[in-house]
Symmetry: C2
Subunit: 205 residues, 2 copies
Amino acid sequence: MSDYPSILLENAVNQVGSLPGVGKKTALRLVLHLLRQSDKDVEAFAGSLTRLKNEVKYCRVCHNISDQEVCPICASHHRDKQTICVVENVQDVMSIENTGQYNGVYHVLGGIISPMDGVGPKDVEIDSLIARIEPEQIKEVILALPTTMEGDTTNFYIYRRLSALQQPELRISQIARGVAVGNELEYTDEITLGRSIINRVEFKG
Amino acid sequence: MSDYPSILLENAVNQVGSLPGVGKKTALRLVLHLLRQSDKDVEAFAGSLTRLKNEVKYCRVCHNISDQEVCPICASHHRDKQTICVVENVQDVMSIENTGQYNGVYHVLGGIISPMDGVGPKDVEIDSLIARIEPEQIKEVILALPTTMEGDTTNFYIYRRLSALQQPELRISQIARGVAVGNELEYTDEITLGRSIINRVEFKG
């Protein structure tokens, strides 16, 4: 006899427990919660996932998730199409949008270069980024990738590819790194703190 | 424009975010994880939930979740049918089974009496428990409900109902309460510690 009183229950718990960061106990709790909902609610829950998987599109310009061929950001007349912010994934677009500080467009790589995980430059949307950089159309590419070794590798690879385009007018920038706003220096890790001293900027009182 | 680049994505995130203890950020992470899986895997995921909801049965003896009319525990010839352990829910059965210390059968109430939440004695499986107590067939009822006010209320209600059956041979017990095994007294709450002194038991060296 298995640990579970029902194979159906066990299957559902195994499926939910396969999600990242969801252990077996949590999965069981979530599945039993769903089981207490109405048939209609469970259909709606499961249906929202299969419908997303079956019907989702990716913007043919920036590769963000979209319901249309072109996402609302790329389609908007109010966005600055001359500035492209390069991010790893869909969540990053949403995080930057939530700051309300950016009015350009995006390019979603769908991953970053990670030789350890077998992810090379061809496995992420770098070629399509380069193809977007038409002469005198794009003024700036902002690299907003994770501040990890993989992020740095990807930044450097993209930088080299962009430089090879020989467009001296194209500005290539990366997001600022340093002590997070609201953080005590005491609790900031040494590498971040060290770099924030080396890369100090002029104080504008 | 909504926060999400896609209505399909937003629906899925809202559904997953409606699960207890799952916030919007976690929901988005889980949904995007699912989106990276194959069509077949997403079907299997969603299908396991709808199938559970549509096909699940509850044991007609103990009300535990089951694939059959009678659950494997109630159907087993190796279990002591004269001892019934009363628990709140399915998880509790699994927790007690995992201890390997119990060989009787169960009765799953499917909730506990909670006047604050509008849950009365008729809303949980107490009548069916009383109906199981046939004269001279059941030797002991073990109350294994949460050690909360609602658990105590339910314990007391069941105790009164069982007493009213006038079966002097029927033993009614409850699980031991006290300092958890492996815990320091220093970190045990005062109520538990106080009661564990009052309810001290003879030391068997």
